[in-house]
Subunit: 415 residues, 2 copies
Amino acid sequence: MGLSKRGLVVQKFGGSSVANPERIKKVAERVVKYRKRGHDVVVVVSALGDTTDELIDLASKVTDDPSEREMDMLISTGEQISCALLAMAIQKLGVPSISFTGAQVGIITDTTHTKARIIDISASDRIKEQLKEGKVVVVAGFQGISIKKEITTLGRGGSDLTAVALAKALGAGICEIYTDVDGVYTADPRIVKDARKLPKISYDEMLELASLGAKVMQARSVEYGKRYDIPIHVRSSFSDAEGTVICKEAKSMEKIDVSGVALQKDEAKITICDVPDKPGIAATIFRELGANNVVIDMIVQNVGRTGTTDVSFTVVSEELAKTIKVAKRVAREIGAGEVIKDESIAKISIVGIGMRSHAGIAARMFNALAARKINIGMISTSEIKISCVINKKYAETALKALHDEFGLKKANKEK
Amino acid sequence: MGLSKRGLVVQKFGGSSVANPERIKKVAERVVKYRKRGHDVVVVVSALGDTTDELIDLASKVTDDPSEREMDMLISTGEQISCALLAMAIQKLGVPSISFTGAQVGIITDTTHTKARIIDISASDRIKEQLKEGKVVVVAGFQGISIKKEITTLGRGGSDLTAVALAKALGAGICEIYTDVDGVYTADPRIVKDARKLPKISYDEMLELASLGAKVMQARSVEYGKRYDIPIHVRSSFSDAEGTVICKEAKSMEKIDVSGVALQKDEAKITICDVPDKPGIAATIFRELGANNVVIDMIVQNVGRTGTTDVSFTVVSEELAKTIKVAKRVAREIGAGEVIKDESIAKISIVGIGMRSHAGIAARMFNALAARKINIGMISTSEIKISCVINKKYAETALKALHDEFGLKKANKEK
């Protein structure tokens, strides 16, 4: 038997989709439905609901400082359990199935325990053999085996990465990510009621949205998909509705100015005042902050009074206290003035590959905010993104204003 | 660094010894004590207390007919969890440690899922390397990897087998089995109050006792130890007391007539009456029973009336109903008479390598029973064992009588 005519699909189900035996059976039904339509199916699963937390809890009762190597040994069992159970549930429906650990299908990683990187998939033939025999192959997500033959785990979003990497290794036509959201929206639908689900989005736009805090997918799985051109279909495991396909840019996408707007409220702004305006002074400040593991988001160097300048930057709120401490020390060392913090900020962003070819997008954004009397504190831009820092109290107003301004409802309908 | 001067010891801890984080910490303390005395230590662990049952329960909620291959995939996670936790607990005490799955240390098995046989240990070098680095190596018991690269489990007593096989592969001086009994006794101490713990027992005696229902160790681990001459020290995980060493026969052992007495009350006797006394007739009966998966223990062909004979045999009580059914059909086919069952039997046995060289042991056994007016129904013997079937109501009396007759308290003191 050769591979099926309808092509190979890789489907990944997250922890909430396989939280208990009932849900595992539901997943089995969905998988079998695909198989019966004629697809070859490879399924990647995360650990059952709370399993990983329970294992971490067990470890914490044994030691307060577990080695990362042993943590990987421990928590990788979660996915091994769920993949065996799913294979059983599929068999129960009369469809042959077999489960594999990451090591068994040769998901080779580096040795960075608890957040390893995939280097290669060395035993995809083992999967292909089983597919040829008509089996649904279930692979434990989130785990691999290092070049030193140790069990590793891939860190946050690891099972997504397993799925995308397998799709690449096996030459699958698509990688489906089943999750508890049903796709990517033009804005957070909890805030913007008329936000629309995007049928398609480009890898780059998704990457910008991921960095803006959209929890749909971790950036590194999207990057992997982009590098090898694997379309990723993000959809709900609780419905049959189509979700959002993350894919290569298409001409049609460029017609749209902006694909989505995003809001982040978990950042704070710090300003070091009266910094001597000398070459290399900014480098000194940010080198010191970096050496203390402070991750900076936006940076603005304001034109200040003669001979001095104000340097502002944002960090995530939970790093604020640590950052203030470092910033004050640096300020003293370089002979700068006081250090001011501002926690009442929000960051509002627009994302879209259309910006590359459409002029005036930034101006429209600033105008739309100005029309609502919303002051802009900082601005940063990338090729396909513009972010503005504003006062937190206008965050939702700004989000809706931009969603309207760029006609996101209408744009969505046109697709 | 080379191996330690005090030699290598393999220690196996069962499920009750690692039932929870507190007990795992206790095991870690015990292991570290050995390590600090200068031993190299390899530890084999079973799954935490109820883990295996919980996993089986999960499977039963997904399917009523799980494939054995997937069951192995599922339940092998239990030992992976416990070995990772124990390695963490040892590390917490300041001693370097590393855990391995059965696959990682190359415990190669055949493909008989859920009760695989160990064929080879192909990666013992990986353990030796870690020992040389001063680490305590913790290995997941009960599991291996088949010649087809599938995860397998070894069935009942599997972790003991892992330990003995590793002791052989690594050239360990001793294999310690920590369990919830503290050794092998001259008789069941719950029945015979003055039963004594044996400091030593030969492999063959232990094998006879295992077949007589002593739950201390499964026969196959003892057989493995015997084949490769690995001394096995069975001892309590809850005390520091010495247990019983199962080892090669020593001259001193032969001085003792009988090492232990054993009692089984879970058998029933079946008699097929008036069997035509023709050649091949017994073969017919037992071939039919065997074809129906009835496992026979003792067989006695009584001298009967002219031309016919009575054939009696024992089976475990839970197989009685099935056996009667088969026996009645066979009796009809061969033209025998009625089939009688007797559930009021007990089997009492004496075991000891001294029997080989001491005459009159059997006579002493029969006399001791006769003196208490206990009638003997059936007798069977091996080179180092004599078993008698008696009425169940005399079981305890007989056990104590034989324990006294063969001076087991005294014999024990002499050792």
